[in-house]
Amino acid sequence: MDRMERKVVVPGDLLSDDPKNAGEGTYVKDGKVSSLLYGMASSYKDKVRVIPLAGKYVPSPGDTVIGTVQDIIFSNWIVNINSPYDGLLHISELPRKIEMNEMSKYLRIGSSVMIRVKDVDSTMKVELTINDRRLGTLTRGRVAEISPTRVPRLIGKGGSMINMLKKELNCNIFVGQNGRIWVDGNDDDMDLALKTILIIEKEAHTTGLTDRILEFLRAEKEARS
């Protein structure tokens, strides 16, 4: 297949005549591949795919996300993961054993947690786990929220954007697949980090963004010192 340029498509736009090219965000009908979404179409290897410009986070196993504890029932915490579906964190998923009556000691209602999606079944019951050294309660820093569709852009190709941000900002940044971002550093750096993240969200689809953000950060830091 010819290389296809990036193009804005709307649902129903014809993308290819070969069903073998059907990638993410497309569907096949009568041997033709069409777009399912309003987004940017591009070819990736031999597949045509459509990256949406908006949409909700749909949990899938293995995603690391940032959630907020909403409720505690029986031996589960109900965790809001910025999605149409709430997550369930069972007491047995904690790194150490705790009693049912002391659940709120470990995770209170309102706590922010860095958490992993363990399993999602066909009825969209989302099981979470926190049993990993890198996961756990967030006790410091701030949490920002962007559209989940902008997460890949914030990370950048091979992490180029996020690594640049971490280096320039002197902050620890973690991007959850659900569009929530945890930032930790000193107050001034965090302010700038959140500001930058919102700019990236707004300009996610423009070209040469990483370079422009780098310039922006350098200018901001110059002004501060």
Binding site: K7, L36, A54, S122, T123, M124, V151
Partner: protein
């Protein structure tokens, strides 16, 4: 008919009272993403109709008993503002708006991939700010664009428009006067490949006239589709075709 001595005339020198040809649409204006809070939104004008559509979701279903285990449900609320018509409309749902909501929902539902989001709901709200005949069709057009803007997976967009009959002649997209004093009104909604998802008729038409009205309305829908598509594409077209673009490939490890 109204009590006037002289016969009502819908045509002057071969054109309609607002200067249109019989098969001409009213001017259309579409703005995408006009509401900050909604997941997707659209403002649309079609002649003197002014409509705003907001889409929320997929989100959790409340009340719970409406939820379906294998698919998302779609809710559509069509509402006319009390100031949208000449005589103040009593606010709130009524027999007419309930009907319009139902048929509009059924016009859009077939293209939405509800199976992607089990146990959730897609809420569509359509508010008519100013009415001038054909508000249900404008509502469907705006809702379809708002659904796309919300990032909801759909097989295609839906376009909708009406045909009517005045002075024994079939006309496209009747305006208020033609609708009120005309002989028939046929609103339809369809996909770009011609599948019809809404077909209503009030008044009387012969089979031949009905066929003509349907064909005319279909042509109207095709024109509207192009405008809807353009409104969506233009919003982001400045980002197309960039060689040096560093659009991320999602696979990156964090």
């Amino acid at each position: 008919m109204i009590g006037m001595d002289e016969k009502l005339s819908f045509f002057k020198n071969g054109v309609r009272l607002d200067g249109r040809q019989p098969d001409e649409l009213r001017p259309i204006k579409i703005e995408v993403g006009v509401l900050e809070r909604a997941d997707g939104s659209c403002y649309m004008e079609m002649g003197d109709n002014k409509v705003i559509a907001a889409v929320y979701g997929p989100r959790e279903v409340h009340p719970r008993h409406l939820q379906e285990a294998t698919r998302a449900i779609v809710r559509y609320r069509y509402n006319m503002a009390s100031f949208s018509v000449e005589e103040r409309k009593r606010p709130g749902p009524d027999r007419r708006s309930n009907e319009v909501s139902k048929v509009s929902k059924e016009a859009l539902e077939p293209v939405i991939l509800t199976s992607y989001f089990p146990k959730s709901v897609v809420d569509i709200f359509v508010e008519v700010l100013q009415a001038d005949a054909g508000t249900r069709t404008v509502g469907i057009n705006a809702a379809s664009v708002a659904l796309a803007d919300a990032g909801i997976p759909m097989k295609c967009l839906i376009s909708s428009c009406a045909a009517g009959k005045v002075d024994g002649e079939v006309v496209l997209d009747p305006m208020k006067f033609e609708d009120n004093f005309g002989e028939a009104d046929v609103p339809i909604a369809m996909t770009p490949n011609g599948d019809i998802t809404l077909l209503q008729m009030d008044g009387r038409l012969t089979t031949e006239e009905f066929r003509k009205a349907l064909e005319m309305a279909k042509t109207g829908c095709e024109q509207i589709y192009e405008i809807q598509r353009k409104a969506l594409v233009d919003r982001y077209s400045h980002m197309e075709d960039s060689e040096s673009c560093d659009e991320a490939v999602a696979e990156g490890e964090i």
